[in-house]
């Protein structure tokens, strides 16, 4: 019998504009196998320039994604759940390897991540019915208020990683039609190719989801002060960073979201604006 065949190991790269490029900077950082000195993978350490490219992509992605019908967005979010279901095992294995989760805990993380995708898929064509209003103004006008996506959302995961909690925020941001540039540090960053593959096969237009692996501290200010980013979702407890973020966000008056409630209506509306339209009633 021949010797045991060597596996082909996947190179984990960034996910920008529907493609899987390496960082333009050529830098990488090692993610260890949990509790060992062995390297799980060398991940791209995204640069400011990668971030700018991702924001450019997200700007374009926003146009197509926010222009889709809510029903269509719902189906694509559902499709993401389907695609992740097919990668359940791989995702679980990554979590076991890099986070040291037990097989059972890793499975719970992944099945919950699938569940939250379903949750927001089911909300995409309903939240506006809950949040919109027809306003009884004193005068012959039809007046109504509807939620709209806030725009390009920067999503900084600056905490111990939980796959499903990350997915909850991503899905909430996408639900109303926003596009996103996400930055994940180690160890969660080991998942980014897998997430990118889920996105790339889900029919979500390119540029809507962009994911960078890298150092949050390095990309924090470029994201917080980027003039084409309309909102920041900060996932972390670092009060100093939250203050800094608020301060830097004033550059273009970004909306900063740092309080978060998983699987909720509020998590969707945190990334929306309300538009009110008046029109006369009469001849």
């Amino acid at each position: 019998m021949s010797a045991k065949e060597q596996p082909v190991i996947k190179t984990i790269k960034l996910f920008i504009n529907g493609e899987f490029p390496r960082t333009e900077s050529g830098r990488s950082f090692a993610v260890p196998i949990h509790g060992s000195e062995h390297i799980y993978a060398n991940l791209c350490q995204a640069s400011r320039k990668d971030l700018r490219a991702a924001v450019e992509a997200a700007k374009e992605g926003l146009k197509s994604w926010s222009g889709k019908t809510a029903f269509n967005r719902a189906q694509i979010l559902y499709r993401m759940a389907e695609m992740l279901e097919g990668k359940k095992q791989e995702a679980g294995q990554i979590l076991e390897d890099v986070q040291g989760l037990s097989k059972k805990d890793a499975e719970v993380e992944v099945t919950t991540a699938i569940q939250v995708l379903l949750y927001y898929a089911g909300f995409a064509d309903k939240f506006s019915q809950v949040m919109a209003s027809v306003n009884p103004v004193s005068g012959p006008f039809h007046n109504f208020t509807t939620p709209e996506p806030v725009g390009v959302v920067g999503f900084l995961a600056d905490t111990g990683f939980s796959f499903w909690q990350w997915m909850d925020r991503l899905a909430a941001i996408l639900c109303s039609g926003n596009s996103v540039v996400a930055v994940i540090g180690a160890p969660g960053a080991a998942l980014i190719s897998l997430i990118g593959e889920v996105m790339a096969t889900s029919d979500v237009p390119k540029g809507v989801v962009n994911i960078l692996s890298g150092d949050i501290n390095e990309l924090f200010t470029p994201m917080a002060s980027h003039m084409e980013v309309q909102s920041i979702c900060y996932w972390g407890e670092d009060q100093t960073k939250i203050s800094q973020l608020h301060e830097q966000a004033t550059e273009n008056m970004k909306r900063v979201v740092y309080k978060y409630k998983p699987q909720s209506l509020e998590s969707i509306t945190a990334f929306t604006e309300f538009k009110t339209i008046w029109h006369p009633v009469g001849v």
Partner: protein
């Protein structure tokens, strides 16, 4: 259409006495001679010396300093107003805290509502007094303070009062709690209306407030304090401290404040946002704008002209959502601008207390200088300039003729920066897509207007415009039930309607 309107006007005015009416035929500007129709200021008794309203009492400012507030229509001093120091602000915040913990958060919600209803009723009873005082202190025409500002003020209190015991329905499935003490800083363009937008939802949701009106227009807020007294609100629930930027900064930065609400310029909004960044205070901001008014060739042209005029010259253009950029479809641009000129030359600029006045006084000398600075800069850049009014400007006070710059380039500062005065910048477009992208080409996103008789075009345009309020075939309409607020650099949050309650509660 225009002729019809002329007839209407003619009829309206010929009813009044002492009038000679000359109406020239077709297109030529028609002329009326108007007699003076001043609203009496006797209804208002202005106190010479105005104190701070803290803890239900009128208190002397701790540092003993006072500043004057002028009537912008003649530049004369109307009254002296106390300047609240940091110590006074601290007293006010403490009073609000005490009232919040001691009474306001404890009384039943429907009782809270009753107090607010009562405020609305008293405001309606004293409406004329408020209107005259607002016009005196702000310079806006009496017909606006009387027919727009004050009725809206009363209705804001009335609308929000009803929410007090129905918050469970505003946030289905959630329990909500008030935030605590709200620090509210408001501008001078709609002095009492902004006070109402701030105070009414805060009280309805169970918060206590410290409000700082603008230094050039403090009088109606102080008169509102009298109404609040009259309505019997527990002391400290509403406190009103007067002063300028320093007082505002002390209030916003006070450590015992839980929520900050500000309406004003994006510049100051940014400073406040930075100051609040290091705290846990909740913040809502209603900031500047450079709102676009899109007129398609298939619009009802005469109505659109009226809309554009109302959009930019209402309240002397001192409106954050003023339609200060006109985007008119190229095919009709020439005719449209001619009609606009004609209409503008009928605008009556003058004594704000005169019931015939369309455009009143610019609120302060400083603002007038600022507006003139913008105009001069645009003139130097060589954009086609037009200004007109049906009247000569008064010899005293602060006045500016309505004006526009035509065919302005997209990069011109008059096309990009907020002037906050009666100055319109005009440009053209060829396709709806171009109109939308030109309209959206601004860091602001407060409001926009669109004129077309094609419903689907209106809907599509409204969808594409990135702004918090879209007026289709109308402009500058406000209502307590209608959420107001902007995208992007025009601010955070909404005021009015159910959505206007969100910034004043913690959702559990």
């Amino acid at each position: 259409m225009l002729d019809k309107e002329k007839d209407k006007k003619k009829k309206k005015h010929s009813k009044s006495a002492n009038k000679t009416v000359k109406v020239k035929t077709h297109k030529a500007p028609f002329e009326f001679e108007y007699s003076d129709a001043p609203e009496s200021r006797d209804i208002v008794k202005i106190k010479e010396r105005n104190l701070l309203y803290i803890n239900g009492q009128w208190q002397e400012p701790s540092e003993g300093s006072f500043f004057p507030t002028l009537n912008p229509a003649d530049g004369e001093v109307l009254a002296e107003v106390a300047e609240a120091s940091a110590a006074d602000v601290d007293k006010a915040v403490q009073a609000a805290r005490k009232a919040y913990e001691g009474t306001w958060s404890k009384i039943p919600a429907h009782e809270r509502g009753k107090y607010i209803f009562r405020i609305a009723r008293i405001l309606q009873e004293r409406a004329r007094e408020f209107a005259v005082l607002e016009t005196l202190d702000n310079g806006k025409p009496i017909k606006e303070s009387r027919d727009v500002d004050i009725p809206l003020v009363a209705s804001h209190f009335f609308y929000n009062a009803g929410w007090a015991d129905k918050l469970d329905y505003a946030f289905p499935g959630h329990k909500v709690t008030p935030i605590g003490v709200a620090a509210q800083v408001i501008p001078w363009n709609f002095p009492l209306l902004m006070a109402a937008w701030k105070i009414a939802p805060a009280l309805a949701t169970g918060n206590c407030v410290v409000l700082k009106p603008a230094e050039t227009t403090p009088l109606t807020a102080l008169l509102l304090a009298e109404v609040i007294e009259q309505a019997g609100l527990p002391p400290g629930v509403v406190n009103i401290v007067t002063g300028a930027g320093k007082t505002g900064a002390a209030l916003v930065n006070h450590p015992d404040v839980n929520k900050v609400a500000f309406t004003g310029s994006t510049e100051v909004g940014r400073i406040i946002a930075k100051a609040v960044a290091k705290t846990n205070k909740k913040l809502t901001l209603e900031l500047g704008g450079k709102s676009a008014h899109i007129v398609y060739e298939d619009a009802a042209i005469d109505q659109a002209v009226e809309g554009v005029v109302n959009g930019i010259f209402f309240n002397q253009g001192h409106v954050c959502c003023a339609g200060s950029r006109l985007l008119v479809e190229e095919s009709i641009a020439k005719d449209f601008v001619e009609k606009l000129k004609e209409r503008m030359s009928q605008i009556r600029v003058g004594d704000p207390l005169d019931k015939n006045t369309d455009v009143g006084a610019i609120n302060s000398h400083r603002e007038l200088e600022k507006i003139r600075g913008f105009i001069n800069e645009a003139k130097e850049e060589g954009w086609e300039y037009f200004s007109a009014s049906a009247t000569e400007l008064p010899g005293k006070g602060f006045f500016q003729k309505p004006c526009f710059f035509n065919d302005v380039g997209s990069a011109a500062s008059i096309f990009r920066q907020e002037v906050f005065g009666p100055v319109l910048a005009i440009s053209t477009f060829r396709t709806p897509q171009e109109a939308i992208s030109k309209a959206n080409d601004t860091p602001y996103g407060l409001a926009a207007g669109v004129w077309s008789e094609k419903a689907s075009k209106i809907q599509k345009t409204a969808l594409g415009l990135k702004a918090g309020v879209i007026w289709a075939n109308t402009y500058n309409k406000f209502d307590p039930s209608s959420p107001f607020g902007g995208y992007y650099e025009s601010g955070w949050g909404r005021e009015g309607g159910r959505h206007g309650l969100f910034p004043y509660v913690e959702v559990q």
